[in-house]
Amino acid sequence: MRYTARDLATRALRRGPSQQETHLMVLTPDFDTRPVISFQHVWKTYPTGTEALRDVNLVVPEGDFVFLVGPSGAGKSTLVRLLIREEKPTKGKIFVDGIELGRMKRRQLPKYRRKVGLVFQDFKLLPNLTVYENVAFALRVHGEAEHTIHSRAAEALDTVGLAGKENSLPANLSGGEQQRVAIARALVHAPRFIIADEPTGNLDPATAWEIMQLFLRINARGATVVMATHNREIVDLLRRRVVAIDAGQVARDDRSGRYHDDLSKSQIRAQ
């Protein structure tokens, strides 16, 4: 059974997908829809002279779920930083939802970041705020009314399975729970894109799998997910789109890929 992202988004609007569905469904993005993320001949050279990205071309259609894989230092994190506009490309153009990030003015940046949900390996939670306050914070910066904040934060915490832990401080939670809070914060303003940088990097395999289930559900509801990861098991199990970055270039782009391609696997075996 295969669905396009558009199908799923329509379904999700009608009713939330069941747990069973999210397990079974293999998301095939609708490549006919306009690309929401597009890298066009993107180069990134840091002031130290390090070439982090070299002529990267990448198109991500709406509703896609993309794994960015590759060895450390390959350029995955640079790609993520460019996507969240922490960095600007040295050459080339990046379009997200029709906006060219390199030309975006500073004052437009907050509005752009509100469209994006960000999840990091180190969670980036505010240690002095409770679970609820951390999630509510993402709505506070948008200037939402208190009653809206309350209902949406409660809903987001419910989605990630943390209802009842609203008043805990991040330090009193496990790594998995902290990442759930970070995901709830990324979800709470219903973003169209989720960008995750090694979200399972600090978690044990069972917890990592639970976290991945959450990302699948978010994707099934129509959000585009771009995730940089080193987690081979998960990538191989989910068989989603895999973009392998090596030495700053796109080495491979498989629609239903694995962590290593067959060629590199055979090379590994030969070694």
């Binding site: 969240i84 500073r106 004052r107 940046l109 907050p110 509005k111 752009y112 970041r113 509100r114 960000l118 980036k124 939670l125 505010l126 002095n128 914070f137 993402a138 506070r140 910066v141 948008h142 200037g143 939402e144 009314a145 208190e146 914060r185 303003h189």
Partner: protein
């Protein structure tokens, strides 16, 4: 939305002030010390300007001695001429008799008054000049008047007046200069203190920016916290200055009796206004500059 953002900024500024109490108190202490120095500068400036005003009032009054035998009509004519002069704010004619009464009434002249026979004093025209700079011109005018006593025409002391004018302008420049130095030093100190506070919270700022906070949303709580810090510091500085003001003036008067320094309770209100506004501005500006590097998207 502005109201909600303002409430959020106020809440987080208040919480952050208490949460980082050690750093907050360091900032309060720095600003308090600076404001005490600024307050002392203002108080000393005010006290000296009062003393200078007193001197000015004295030296801007010139006595023109009338030669014995000058016809009264001539004196009245000259008095009239002076009264219509725009540089003059008042003229008073003192007859010989009145001059003697005044002389005898002065307790400093007690011994001398007993030895006086007859009335050796001149009648005089006491002229109040509006601007101190014009006293010399009035003196020249008086000396040309035929009715003036040629041996002792006026009590004008040109050198003294010029020195007073010079001193008063130097004191003004020195006060402004000192205040300017204090403001620059204090902004640097406050900026660095607040930058330390901000450095501790850079992770929080990073998260704020990543979830889409605008620069002003991030900066707002810090600037409000700066204003709070400045106001608390101003209150401390003001309390200390008010407590010390009167005893310090008393002490000064008993030690340096020839300078007529006086306690002016009315000045406390203007001092309070200056310190509170100064403290708030200092805190706000220090925070604004201190947080700028971390806030920039």
């Amino acid at each position: 939305m502005i109201y909600r953002n303002l409430r959020f900024a106020l809440n987080s500024a208040w919480q952050s002030f208490w949460r980082n109490l050690a750093v907050s108190m360091a900032a309060v202490l720095s600003i308090t010390l600076i404001l005490i120095l600024a307050g002392i500068n203002l108080l000393v400036g005010h006290a000296f300007s009062q003393v200078l005003d007193g001197f000015r009032a004295k030296v801007s009054e010139i006595s023109i001695n009338v030669a014995d035998g000058t016809p009264l009509q001539s004196v009245y004519d000259f008095q009239q001429q002076l009264s219509t002069d725009p540089r003059v704010s008042g003229v008073r004619f003192i007859t010989k008799d009145e001059a003697l009464v005044q002389f005898k009434a002065d307790p400093n002249n007690l011994v001398l008054a007993q030895q006086i026979e007859g009335n050796p004093l001149d009648a005089k025209l006491e002229v109040r000049v509006t601007r101190l700079d014009d006293v010399a011109a009035i003196d020249t005018l008086a000396r040309r008047w035929p009715g003036v006593d040629p041996t002792n025409p006026t009590n004008y002391q040109g050198d003294f007046v010029n020195r007073m004018l010079e001193l008063s302008s130097w004191l003004g420049v020195a006060g402004v200069g000192l205040l300017a130095i204090l403001v620059v030093v204090s902004i640097v100190i406050v900026m660095n203190t607040i930058r330390t506070a901000v450095y501790h919270r850079r992770k929080e700022i990073e998260v704020m920016k990543l979830v889409g906070a605008t620069e002003w949303f991030v900066r707002g709580p810090f600037v409000i916290e700066g204003v709070m810090t400045g106001l608390i510091a101003a209150a401390f500085a003001l309390a200390l200055l008010v407590i010390a003001y009167e005893p310090a003036v008393d002490r000064f008067r008993s030690d340096v009796a020839f300078i007529p320094l006086s306690y002016d309770p009315a000045f406390v209100a203007s001092l309070a206004r200056d310190l509170l506004v100064g403290g708030a501005l200092l805190g706000a500006l220090g925070s604004y500059i201190g947080v700028r590097r971390y806030v920039r998207l």
